[in-house]
Symmetry: C2
């Protein structure tokens, strides 16, 4: 992990850009974080395209910093400056064609679009975790927050250091992820935008039902993909405070 820039924001949060094995990422730590008082960590998921997502991710990170959490994210495989995979790009083209033709999106397209992303991204997030938890001032427990929901599901299954997750419903979910969802046991807080035009609501409800976790909350609100109301963001923050602190 190599830090490439750092700045202290006006709320005292330290924002550091880094690269890890050539992959760009950002780490935000609250002013209070120190080797003698390490803070818990939230991994900030996103749909890919770190530059475009950065303002929203920074806002979430600063909100979490005020609650005493560090936050970090990395670019996804095939997004931003990272090399595209020919197979995934073909799946993306097939998806676009199906949507434009008003045809149902086949399981095959969803599998080819999402599964390679999950397979490649999850080990990278685990490597990120290794690097972050080796830093002074950051400690477990660890939460995952965001989409791509399939990445969050896989990470919750395979990574024992992730002990709670806020998952954003709203992307295509391969059928196999419903099986993996049954293996998730950590507390979950699932955000669903009820009117999300790019979202299969019934699939989101089925996935929520499938999760094996004894404690899971579905928080559904009106509005489209980017319209998560402020009170829902606050409820997600309280979920992390409940499970990652004290």
């Amino acid at each position: 992990m190599r830090f490439t820039s750092e700045q202290r924001l006006d709320d005292g949060v330290l924002e550091r850009d880094f690269t890890l094995g050539g992959i760009p990422g950002v780490l935000w730590t609250p002013a209070s974080a120190s080797p003698s008082a390490p803070v818990p960590l939230i991994l900030l998921g996103h749909p890919g395209g770190l530059d475009r997502m950065r303002p929203r991710l920074a806002a979430r990170a600063r909100h979490s910093a005020a609650e005493g959490f560090a936050s970090a994210t990395v670019e996804l495989p095939g997004s931003g400056e990272r090399p595209r995979s020919a197979d995934v790009e073909q799946a993306r083209a097939d998806l676009r064609r199906a949507l434009e033709a008003g045809e149902p999106v086949s399981d095959d397209i969803v599998d080819r679009l999402v599964l390679p992303l999950v397979d490649r991204a999850v080990p990278e997030w685990r490597t990120l975790l290794d690097a972050l938890l080796a830093l002074p001032g950051i400690d477990g427990p660890v939460g995952y927050s965001g989409g791509v929901i399939s990445i969050g599901v896989r990470l919750a299954v395979v990574e024992p250091r992730v002990s709670a997750a806020v998952l954003f419903a709203g992307s295509y979910v391969p059928r196999i992820m419903f099986e993996e969802a049954r293996q998730v046991t950590v507390p979950l807080h699932v955000l669903l935008q009820w009117d999300d035009e790019g979202n299969d609501r019934q699939a989101a409800l089925d996935l929520f039902d499938a999760f094996g976790s004894k404690e899971k909350t579905l928080n559904a609100n009106m509005g489209g993909h980017t319209g998560v109301p402020e009170h829902a963001g606050e409820a997600a923050a309280r979920f992390f405070t409940r499970h990652l602190k004290g």
Copy 2:
């Protein structure tokens, strides 16, 4: 409205039993309530049987009092000491028979069970509102909290003084209530116990979808009918604070 007993609880809450047109009820007001500093009001819905429900209602009322709300409730028609309706008792017997036989519960049974209750209860809750808002120390705005969800829906449609509602999914809902739900415009916070054995989950989701309110939140959690987790109760309290105060 005639007060029949009163006691000051250890948290300073004033608990008063009353009768209103012969119907028993309870009013809880926070210690802070005074004619010069009136508090907003929450109507506490319940499934009927005030004596049995009282401990849970009192707990909700004392929690709300700590947030600066008065709370009040009345016995439902046909419950407690109130006279039974032969038609509703027949519907209840038909429901029991259908459940014991493992048969689907027909729309006809649900209509005969719930609609007379809604028709009779809603005017009583409105009369209660008249009486409560005439008391010194209590003022609008008013929220409705609880089940029977069909009573909450009807009240939200016909009673303009109700300006926000927390609705508990989990009872039989007549088809006509889905039409009434479209006329609801006040902010809603709907609690759904995902594994509630006495609840038709799909009907609850359909009802949530039907509500005309621009701001509505579905908060679904694991567990059965009486297993609403503490954090979900707190989220409902914050909803009222957001909409009824300040």
